[in-house]
């Protein structure tokens, strides 16, 4: 463990990150050594002040081999947020708990059948005094303070922890090279094997979560992922911390990456006092 850390520290080279952002540029084409690269620059409503935008390759899905179609700039507030493992953890705990209803159940001494009669007289036998054979002290008796069914573990994580949970997880995925951006989800075939080969070829982890900005994915990719239980498709509104961690690799379409960025930036910069209020289950 110590050697891993030392290696990690050796590899660190934090370059000065301060620069002024050019805001008024769209697609820039850079020609380097007979190759053209499309760099998609964006105009954000809240541009990053002290950091460079993250530049990520846009890849393709229409061939097994990887082709780089261009570069996209991503906002560092969303895709390079501080990697807070504790916030990720609290999100995972919340996602496990809020839908968990515990059905474990035991009977109390009143619910166990029988036990109405005093087992033996109070005095004169030299035995301990007892009023019921179903008391928790008796074998076959009721359980004191046992679990009662239908116990809800629902709670709501504070709004900003949910918000930062998403930015932190996205940033951690990007920092660990587990986040890839693809142009679109068009596949040339509906064979599952094609997708398996593609994942193998690009060294994506076996399990892949694909996020698109619409509910309807193209037919080929739907058919191809149908039999692959470890490759799943999800719309942007379903994006969550638990699923991102459950899958090794996160694949966003370009539109999805932009939509996630736009929505998270909106909430990071707006007045959220209404959303920050204490959550009530019976709120109207």
């Amino acid at each position: 463990m110590a050697s891993i850390l030392i290696n990690a520290i050796k590899r660190l080279h934090v370059s000065p990150q301060i620069r002024l952002c050019s805001l008024n540029s769209a697609a820039v084409t850079t020609t380097t050594a007979n190759k053209t690269i499309n760099i998609l620059k964006k105009e954000w409503e809240f541009p990053p002040l002290y950091t460079k935008p993250r530049e990520v390759w846009i890849e393709n899905l229409d061939s097994v081999e990887e082709k780089k179609l261009g570069l996209i700039e991503l906002h560092p507030m969303v895709y390079a947020a501080p990697p807070r493992i504790d916030i990720i953890h609290s999100n995972v705990i919340w996602q496990r708990k809020y839908r968990w209803v515990s059905w474990a159940h035991t009977k109390t001494r009143a619910e166990v059948r029988g036990g109405g009669k005093k087992p033996w007289p109070q005095k004169g036998l030299g035995r301990a005094r007892h009023g019921s054979i179903r008391s928790p002290l008796f074998r076959g008796g009721g359980v004191a303070h046992g679990p009662r069914s239908g116990k809800s573990h629902f709670f709501m994580l504070p709004f900003h922890l949910r918000l930062h949970g998403l930015t932190t997880t996205l940033s951690a995925k990007l920092a660990q090279d587990d986040l890839h951006i693809v142009k679109d989800l068009e596949l040339p075939t509906d064979e599952s094997q094609y997708l398996v080969d593609l994942i193998e070829n690009r060294n994506w982890g076996p399990s892949v979560l694909i996020i698109d900005d619409t509910d309807y994915a193209p037919r080929n990719i739907t058919a191809a992922t149908d039999n692959l239980l470890h490759v799943n498709i999800m719309p942007v509104y379903g994006l969550n911390v638990y699923s991102m961690l459950k899958h090794d690799t996160l694949v966003l379409t370009q539109a999805a990456a932009e939509k996630i960025e736009e929505k998270l930036l909106y909430h990071l910069h707006s007045d959220n006092r209404e959303r920050m209020k204490k959550f009530k289950i019976d709120q109207v």
Partner: protein, 294 residues
């Protein structure tokens, strides 16, 4: 959340560490403290609750209860000046210094008239109309350094405040809003989503009519000519030269006022604001027009 250098460093560190999965995340050490019942020689005796009685049984008495005495809050007779305190109007204060800070930090837009809605929208002033709050009382703290030219509408203001604003070439109006109008102004979006028509603003109650019709307090029901006389009088009293409104480039903005029946700038009573289709529905029925024009 942390400095940028630390963030960059930890992200590049993460790059050479194992992948974060459901199996290797944990909370910050020590972030969760579970309460344990003390055991053993010193912790276990009474578990910290003391010996006998109310303390040991952790029977916390209700507030003000004096174990059978005639409690203080009943022993002291009712003071006459509290009569009707539950009906009195309250105006939560905001100082001129706070207003100046809002302006300096771009929390309010001074190129438009400022009203209670824009003060609440700044996020640094809160109002609870259900607790008999009837609007903002602009107080004179920081009057000597107030330096913005604004057109502001408040619910209560003192003479010094009026002088401080008018000295900078600004305009101040005191206007009454009934609690329902204030609820609407506090969160306009929530009201518009209900799909109701914007109601008329109610006229002030009898005991407030004098304040809001007086030109000296810049009441919204006062005669405009008397107000301009009072502006001149106040400038002479406090010894500043009154900037000329007519020659001001922002004359249009500075003379913008709400109708006494109007709640929002630019929106008339009776209109329905459809946020979904982004359109305004205006009444056409003769009876409705007559009702809302009154």
């Amino acid at each position: 959340m942390g400095s940028r250098q630390i963030t960059e460093k930890s992200l590049s560190m993460l790059r050479s560490l194992p992948r974060i999965t459901l199996a290797n995340i944990r909370d910050n050490p020590g972030s969760k403290i579970t309460q344990k019942r003390g055991r053993g020689q010193h912790g276990g005796d009474k578990h910290g609750a003391g010996n006998k009685g109310s303390g040991q049984r952790q029977n916390y008495m209700r507030l003000g209860y004096e174990t059978g005495n005639n409690p203080f809050y009943l022993r002291i007779p009712h003071e006459n000046y509290y009569r009707g305190h539950h009906l009195k109007r309250e105006y939560p204060p905001m100082t001129l210094l706070e207003l100046q800070k809002l302006i300096d930090r771009n929390r309010v837009d001074i190129s438009k008239p400022i009203d209670i809605a824009s003060l609440i929208k700044s996020g640094l002033y809160t109002l609870n109309p259900d607790q008999k709050h009837f609007g903002v009382n602009l107080t004179d703290d920081g009057a000597d350094i107030f330096a913005a030219k604004i057109n502001i509408e408040v619910q209560w203001a003192s003479e010094q405040v009026i002088a401080a604003i008018e000295k900078n070439g600004g305009v101040i109006t005191t206007a009454y809003y009934d609690p329902h109008s204030l609820f609407i102004l506090k969160n306009p979006q929530r009201f518009f989503e209900t799909g109701q028509a914007i109601p008329r603003r109610m006229i002030p109650p009898p005991d407030a009519i004098e304040f809001y019709t007086s030109a000296a307090t810049r009441g919204y029901l006062a005669d405009p000519e008397k107000i301009s006389q009072e502006r001149l009088k106040l400038s002479q009293k406090y010894g500043y030269t009154l900037p000329n409104l007519e020659s001001d480039p922002q004359y249009e903005m500075l003379t913008d006022r709400k109708d006494p029946r109007q709640i929002f700038f630019g929106l008339q009573p009776g209109w329905v604001i459809n946020l979904k289709d982004e359109c305004i529905l205006k009444p056409k029925d003769e009876e409705l027009l007559q009702f809302y024009s009154m």
